[in-house]
């Protein structure tokens, strides 16, 4: 890539790219000028182009920021380090050029001469228009505080708003040198900023001027439950108090609260709300109240000037969400392109679903009853961090709040948007009651949704659009999302999109009962199969086929899964059969594309010694190993080893197998921890080694990767492991489960924060055994954990809600006791005749290139 010239600009063009412009005089198209290149402005341009507006209009877009158009909603994940900048680009500079749009990025508009119909910009340019659209959005509001600005009127260094990518970058950069942050504002943005900064290892305190968090959306009760969840994350919350002064002359040093308390900090984030950008409109003489006043066709009091998005005030309402902005864009595009000259916007009913500081929240309509005969139903479980409520008026849903559990959001959104009939037992709005319909309930929700009901609020995609994409041949959720753009905004509807795709595609799949079987060759789901194996005392794979397979017929593709299951059930009492194992397990190495194998010795916690390295080096030379590679799991891989050399190599190495080939526990990555690292809060290497010692070689439905890190900087990537352990100080460890950073990327869910290394090992063991006993074959934890649900896991593993913890521990212990290092075992005597005989002895085969 040669992007040095344009580094720092999101969605920048490659250096040297240029665009030809038609001579103005030859262009008969009318001139459409858009002021504002954010989510509203750019979407409006897209909508115009979609309606063939490229033929009608010469389009100019002014953007205050130098970037292309990016997804502002996703700044929180960028700050948290969960998304990269490139992921949030919606329209790059190239896109504008390709569509013949004149993008004036980084050019601020000063005023509009509505009489002459000209736009005056800060760079001195004057641009004529026929139609002008203001989409100037909002800015971060900085409440009045002494010392927050320097004498020049700039924000004091170390103080940031949270609105743009540049502010986000500056904060990210600050996280490396700052240790204490104060976030001002306990709304959505403030909470997200607090969580993100805390994830960078900072000490975070949150100051909110109102008596409870997210007071604009939540009731006091729900707000307090959210507060508890946030405090549990380790973020200190100060409510009902204003900050009056910012300390520090060269750089922020702290804030003083109205009650006199002082909080020290070296980073201050102000997320105290946004205000519509109306300066240009005011200077241009347009009617402005709280925002720029528009009619039902988004027209201001000047007939050729329109306003959309957060800077527009329609029927007294100003919206701070993206969905109404995109509705504005659609209506205005209809009007201006003539697609529907009578299109009107009548306001938005806003329903939002989001994740705040790790907690799922969905809100719509009102959150408390307003009239005497309003029905109000509340389920509050402060201990679980769950608060659910609905407000019903005249048999219609007029409000709902879901905190900590948003499983019912799909149905409630429909009921709210469309006035769908409500169940007589109102409690069914909030929970699934078991009445025989049982698990079908969730699917009914999807099936019952009307065809034209909107699923993706960001992109206006309906259930019908999704079903249409499936019918049109899209075979995966990803394809449907690409085709329809559903789930491509804030992403919060992704699970609903998935449910609908599965439901829509179900016609064919429903007839396949094999979907529930553990392996294709035995017609039983896993629990039934396990019962049958125990009942008939089946200890080998051939015995399982003989007893349980139709006609006693064996099945090649079922053998590996059955081997794993039998090993788990019987431990050392399992009767091994080599042919039931995959080749990797037969010869204890990972088969490569040329039929050679890779040899990865155990290196617990990624910690090695000079002597071990010397031995590996000697062995690599002796056997002419073509490639020596450091693996992602913090070990050393000797690649390209001939099968016949394996036993001798193991002997020479004198090290146990690292199990880099099995559907089994693999490795524990660790960071340097407290021994040497100046940030380390606890001894992560020791704990990693202990975990690896306990779980070495244990077979599981799919591979298991773990990591332990000594602080939330997460150097060994614990947040994206099947089990990830993070030291948070004072002997406490966070245990995350279900993370992944492979073909799927998922941050693990926080299962619990526990004290002491033994507690971590015990909890990780319980989780591992529960996963082994309940996951489908090849189902990774990143699918298993969401399928089972974090709450269920907490109930079973932390509170022993099903009374099986002792059983789980015994089951795991059986496997721990059955562990024998396979290299030591088969190196002495082959398990079967010709175990290590070459299978491709003589012909030259495609070889992996040797570096």
């Amino acid at each position: 890539m040669t992007m040095t010239q344009t580094r720092g600009i999101l969605g920048a063009r490659l250096a040297g790219a240029s665009t030809l412009h038609l001579d103005d005089d030859l262009d008969s198209r009318s001139r459409l000028v858009v002021v504002g290149n954010g989510m509203a402005g750019a979407r409006f341009v897209e909508e115009v182009l979609e309606r063939g507006g490229g033929e009608q209009f010469r389009i100019t877009v002014f953007g205050d920021e130098p970037h292309g158009n990016y997804n502002r909603i996703m700044l929180s994940p960028v700050l948290a380090g969960e998304s990269s900048e490139d992921d949030i680009v919606l329209n790059s500079h190239d896109w504008y050029a390709d569509n013949g749009i004149d993008l004036r990025a980084g050019v601020r508009v000063e005023r509009i001469d509505t009489a002459a119909k000209q736009v005056h910009a800060a760079d001195g340019s004057v641009t004529a228009y026929d139609h002008l659209v203001l989409a100037t959005g909002s800015y971060s509001w900085i409440p009045p505080m002494n010392g927050v600005r320097t004498d020049e009127g700039e924000l004091l260094p170390g103080v940031y708003g949270f609105r743009t990518i540049d502010e986000t970058r500056a904060m990210l950069e600050a996280t490396s040198r700052c240790t204490r942050a104060v976030v001002m504002g306990g709304g959505l943005l403030g909470l997200e900023a607090a969580r993100a900064l805390q994830g960078h290892g900072m000490h975070v305190e949150l100051v909110h001027a109102m008596p409870w968090l997210m007071n604009a959306q939540l009731s006091r009760e729900a707000g307090s439950i959210l507060e508890k969840s946030v405090e549990e994350l380790g973020i200190t919350v100060h409510l009902d108090v204003l900050a009056t002064e910012v300390l520090g002359s060269e750089h922020v040093e702290g804030v003083v609260l109205k009650d006199g308390r002082r909080i020290d900090c070296d980073l201050l984030v102000v997320a105290a709300g946004v205000r519509p950008h109306t300066d240009v409109a005011v200077r241009s003489g347009l009617e402005v109240e709280r925002a720029i006043v528009v009619d039902d066709q988004l027209r201001t009091d000047d007939p050729d000037v329109y306003a959309i998005g957060e800077c527009a005030q329609h029927r007294g309402s100003v919206y701070g969400l993206v969905a109404p902005a995109w509705e504005h864009a659609k209506v205005l595009a209809d009007v201006l392109t003539g697609t529907n000259p009578d299109a009107e916007y009548h306001g938005s009913r806003t329903a939002t679903k989001l994740k705040v500081a790790g907690v799922d929240v969905a809100v719509m309509g009102i959150n408390t009853p307003e009239r005497d005969d309003d029905e109000f139903l509340v389920i509050s479980e402060p201990k679980r961090g769950v608060h659910l409520s609905v407000v019903i008026r005249d048999d219609k849903l007029v409000g709902a709040t879901l905190l900590g559990d948003t499983r019912k959001v799909a149905f409630l959104t429909q009921a709210f948007d469309r006035g769908a009939p409500l169940p007589e037992e109102r409690i069914r709005l909030l929970v699934d009651l078991s009445d025989g319909a049982g698990s079908a309930h969730g699917e009914l929700g999807v099936a019952d949704m009307p065809h034209d009901s909107q699923v993706c609020n960001c992109n206006g995609v309906s259930k019908g659009d999704i079903c249409g994409a499936v019918a049109g041949g899209c075979g995966s959720v990803g394809e449907v999302m690409d085709r329809t753009r559903a789930g491509k905004g804030c992403g919060s509807c992704a699970s609903l999109v998935k449910q609908i795709v599965e439901w829509a595609a179900d016609g064919d799949l429903a007839e396949d009962p094999a979907a529930s079987w553990y392996v294709p060759g035995i017609p039983m789901p896993k629990p039934e199969l396990m019962r049958a194996i125990r009942e008939h005392d089946l200890r080998s794979v051939s015995a399982v086929f003989a007893m349980l397979a139709p006609g006693g017929k064996d099945d090649a593709k079922s053998k590996m899964g059955l081997t794993s299951l039998l090993k788990m059930i019987w431990g050392s009492d399992y009767l091994p059969e080599k042919d039931a194992e995959f080749i990797n397990d037969r010869v204890h190495g990972n088969i490569q594309r040329d039929g050679t194998f890779s040899v990865v010795p155990q290196m617990k916690g990624g910690v090695t010694t000079p002597a071990q390295l010397r031995r590996i080096a000697d062995v690599a030379e002796k056997y002419e190993v073509p490639m020596v590679k450091v693996t992602g799991g913090q070990r050393i891989d000797l690649l390209g080893v001939r099968k016949e050399d394996l036993p001798a190599m193991w002997n020479d190495l004198g090290m146990p197998s690292g199990y880099a080939y099995g559907k089994s526990f693999r490795t524990v990555k660790t960071c340097v921890g407290s021994d040497f690292c100046r940030f380390g809060l606890d001894d992560s290497t020791r704990l990693g080694i202990d975990l690896e010692t306990r779980f070495q070689g244990i077979e599981s439905p799919a591979k298991i990767k773990m990591a332990v890190v000594g602080c939330p900087r997460n150097c060994a990537e614990a947040y994206v492991k099947d089990v990830g352990v993070v030291a948070v100080g004072n002997g406490k460890w966070e245990v995350y489960v279900g993370g992944a950073a492979g073909a799927s990327v998922r941050k693990g869910d926080l299962l619990a924060t526990v004290e002491g290394r033994d507690a971590v090992i015990a909890l990780a063991g319980r989780f591992l055994q529960y996963y082994r006993e309940n996951a489908n074959w090849l189902e990774r934890t990143y699918d298993f954990v969401p399928r089972v649900g974090l709450e269920k896991l907490k109930l079973v593993l932390l509170e022993d809600g099903e009374g099986i913890c002792a059983e789980l521990e015994a089951g795991l212990q059986r496997s721990v006791d059955a562990y024998r290092d396979p290299w030591g075992q088969d190196a002495e005597e082959p398990a079967t005749p010709g175990q290590f005989r070459p299978s491709l002895p003589l012909v030259a085969l495609p070889k992996v290139s040797v570096r």
């Binding site: 060759g521 090649a556 593709k557 080749i583 012909v843």
Partner: protein, 107 residues
């Protein structure tokens, strides 16, 4: 193979006990590499040694009464005629039998 060499070769490649139940081993028969399998039901099968798709070592594959599954990409090939269950290119299968404990392959 030259045009003059049309008669099949009948070759003893090894002993039956060289191939453990359910597994495969590779032998050379008249210059051809052949993978010989002994299933748990006692039946014998022989195929070409390397898969046509990516040169995978078929003798390292897993078996059942119907098919052989290549260890590299899990393509399955039928014992009956060497055809692939997924429509990939077929493999060659050879007649094989046991005579006095010897494995006899016709190539």
């Amino acid at each position: 193979m030259s045009v003059t060499d049309v008669s099949p070769a009948v070759v003893v490649v090894g002993r039956a006990e060289d191939v453990p139940p359910g597994e495969g081993r590779t032998f050379v028969a008249d210059g051809e590499q052949v993978a010989v399998f002994r299933l748990r039901n006692g039946s014998l099968h022989a195929t070409q040694a390397a898969c046509p798709h990516a040169g995978g070592p078929l003798a390292d594959g897993q078996t059942d009464v119907d098919v052989l599954v290549c260890p590299l990409h899990q393509y399955a090939y039928r014992w009956s005629d060497g055809s692939s269950t997924s429509g990939a290119a077929p493999i060659r299968v050879y007649p094989v039998r046991e005579v006095d404990g010897d494995l006899v392959v016709t190539v």
